[in-house]
Amino acid sequence: MNWIASNLGLIFDLTINHVRLAIIPIILGFLIAVPLGWVASRNRVARTFIITTGSLLYTIPSLPLFVILPVILGTRILDDTNLVVALTIYAVAIMLRSATDAFGSVDRSIIESAKAIGFSRSGRFWRVEFPLAGPVLIAGLRVVSVSTIALVSVGVIIGSENLGYLFQNGKQRGILEEVVVGIVMSLLIALVFDLILVAIGRVLMPWSRAAGVRGKSGDPTDPDPATDSVSTRRVLAPPGAGVR
């Protein structure tokens, strides 16, 4: 415990920087992926293009991506911008699939009903599609959040100051405690972020709790399409959705 006691300041600073480096890609990824995912869920050609591009970018391992970006962005190699852009690319790639699924899972008939009762195009998106896609969007965002936080630490290789520094420094000085602190803090940040996202989901979409409960108790291998569509509808349509 000696090392921890004498390095509380360092741990705190690195944690704050770690959070900062993770938050930007998570938010940017969400903002970029949602409109793209909406387009992909509406148009087959766009879907193929967007999903393929996303998964190709996702295939590039992180360290190579970190060091390739400076050529493309014109940044210096030891610049946090490279890390943030790389993490944003991964975040978009993960989030795209979730967003496409999320908007694709909104029942056509609900959209048609919204149209019929006179919602404008943007009204339909903001008041019907977006809220109904919400639970799946949050699920995707949770994956993005967890993997982004874990990945930030690789950035230490290109000089970024985050919890990854504790891994590198701990290894060099042979202090196992330091490495463990880095891992534990990283896991803690991931846990806190996850709890916050779950809480946001519950507050903004009280109906989504029903989805979690049903998903667990429901038989995943239930072959009957009739019960499927009924339960899907129950989950995806909050009471009074689209009938303001």
Partner: protein, 256 residues
Amino acid sequence: MNFFLDAIAWILDPANWVPGSQSPLPIGDRLVEHLIYSGVSLVIAMLIALPLGFYIGHTGHGRQFVIGFTGAMRALPTLGLLFFLTMVLRSGLSTTPAVLVGSVVAFVLLAIPSLLAGAYAGLESVSRESIDAARAIGMTEMQILRKVEIPLGLPVIIGGIRSATLQVIATVTIASYVGLGGLGRIISSGIGLNDYTVILGGALLVTVLALSVDGVFALLQRLTRTRGQTSRPLRSVQRNRSDAAVAPIVDERTPA
């Protein structure tokens, strides 16, 4: 673009492939190391995860365990795991075996979630009717697994292997920082020497390797698809849309 041309010229320069040249060269040796570490780790991980995944997919037991395990592993920082394992093993072993064993254990651990999820989701993607029909004509549970579930679920199972492979290839790259060989060595020594051509050359090599392996697996998935089955990707197989919110997603490995 000049940087890219320089890096490609560096990769293609025969002098960098001559056996016996100074570390991190020759390129060929680093490539072979990269493939061996990845291959060995994947085989070990598959021996552990596939039977377990088949058990879970066939019986439906332990689904929640897989979801929890996948999520937890996703949160683990790979670099920290690598440093932790090699340092712990270092107390009992000398440096080289500690690095080797520690790294392989880390690769195996990181490969397991995708493999497990692929195996069980593959089996779950098989239509209930096919399984019931197999049972009705008198197949034993083992026969159902081997002759119906695994062949029909193969594209999804291979999808899991594909994700795991990419994860491992990426992590082997990072493992050059605990002293393991492989293509990551080229990048790390380039960073050490502040030689951007070498850094970029190494990065391009890893990227091309990852994309090629990905392409081979995509082809395998296509070839193993059973005729008459829908060719839709795994995700659409999930009959229950609300499941998307809880089910682990096979092709969503954590980038590493």
